[in-house]
Amino acid sequence: MRTAYQVCILLAMSIRHGLLALLERGQMYGYQLRSAFEESTGSTWPLNIGQVYTTLSRLERDGLVRSLPESEAGQRPYEITDAGRADLALWFATPISRADRPRDELSIKLALALTTPGVDVRAVVQTQRSATMRALQEFTRLKYASDKPEDLPWRLVLDAMIFQAEAEVRWLDHCETSLVRHRPAPSRPATHPEAVDRAGEEARR
């Protein structure tokens, strides 16, 4: 599902700042970070512990976090540095550019469907609309089930996915209306010399 795919990309880009934001609350070790991260996304975006440690070592290399001595239980806590705080503040202050987002496979697919012989574009639109509608129902169900005050961050994330899915359905509706109004001519219209002459004449008038 495209929406889930988008979320994954977005997630990969924001694990770094997600971890920094969590460390801003206080020092934590890897497993704590992982569970805090999952908690803040309603446990539906699992993060593997390898990703956490890889990200932590990059953050440490860049001077944004520092590791502290291991505890007796063998856990190594991390804390955020001043440079890390500045990076986090900058992240919050900067809008996410649309250019940083993944290319929209769906619009490219529809554009190609229009120009590829033998493809039923309306069927492509309808198939996608059903799938996106199902995702929308699923997000709404999750939201309906998350009605506790402490669920607010998770509900806002769900709202974002709901509005994105809605936008996609609206766009698909729009595509369908355009397809109905504009029956495409055969991809290579046979040009009739007389017709061209007539058109040329009319254009000259």
Partner: protein, 240 residues
């Protein structure tokens, strides 16, 4: 499984011969208790016609509409009117609250028209207002309430008594997104408590509240989504 609402091969044609407009062309749809079905489709696709037929406000030119086992076409006008008042609740974009009546009087009105005693009607109306979280506004007139509050009262009027079929036509109207969502939440809650619901909407975000979404195009059901149960046994598709 037989639904609270069954449309069986329903046709609705306006006009005759060359001038005939086929609003619905062989639509079959079953809505069970505890199920909310959203009907989506572009303007002129037949959404509102479908809802009017389901509610007995209009009669099909072909096929059958069955509500809780009663075929609407076979009912004399008086029985049909009674079935509409007792078993079917309507929520429209246009609220239709009477300005000279308080919230509780507006909600009690359909029961009183149906012959219920004033006291019994008031008791049921208060319960319906409580269900939509506006029991405290019972004594207010429509112009003393916000749009969202008025819509809640209109929903209470649709739910009052023992209506097992709730039909909603763009029920969020001009409400902002929060108030609109509250309306859908209430509809969902009533359906979860055992009613059957049909929601006509052009907004995907609203249709997201449904268990099943069907698309109408040119009077024909073209597709449906069913995240939890298979659609095949519920929806027999168009033109069968």
């Amino acid at each position: 499984m037989s639904g609270v609402l069954e449309l069986r091969g329903v046709h609705r044609t306006h006009g005759a011969r060359e001038a005939a407009v086929h609003a619905l062309r062989g639509v079959s749809l079953s809505v069970a208790a505890g199920e909310l079905v959203a009907v989506m489709g572009p303007s002129g696709s037949g959404k509102s016609t479908l809802l009017a037929l389901a509610g007995g406000l209009d009669r099909p030119t072909g096929g059958e509409v069955v509500v809780e086992g009663e075929s609407l076409g076979a009912l004399p006008a008086r029985d049909l009117a009674r079935l509409r008042r007792r078993r079917i609740g309507y929520v429209f974009q246009d609220l239709n609250l009477l300005g000279s009546l308080t919230a509780v009087e507006n909600v009690a009105l359909p029961l009183e028209l149906d012959g219920a005693g004033v006291r019994a009607a008031r008791r049921l109306a208060l319960a319906a207002l409580a269900e939509v979280d506006v029991a405290g506004l019972a004594g207010r007139f429509p112009d003393q309430m916000s749009g969202g509050q008025q819509q809640r009262v209109a929903i209470a009027r649709a739910l009052v008594g023992e209506r097992r079929l709730v039909l909603a036509d763009e029920p969020t109207g001009a409400l902002d997104s929060q108030a609109g969502e509250a309306v859908l939440h209430l509809l969902r809650r009533r359906v979860d408590a055992g009613a059957a619901g049909v929601l006509v909407t052009h907004e995907a975000r609203h249709a997201g509240w449904a268990d099943r979404v069907v698309f109408l195009r040119d009077g024909v059901l073209v597709d449906s989504t069913a995240p939890l149960v298979g659609v095949e046994h519920l929806l027999s598709g168009s033109g069968r």
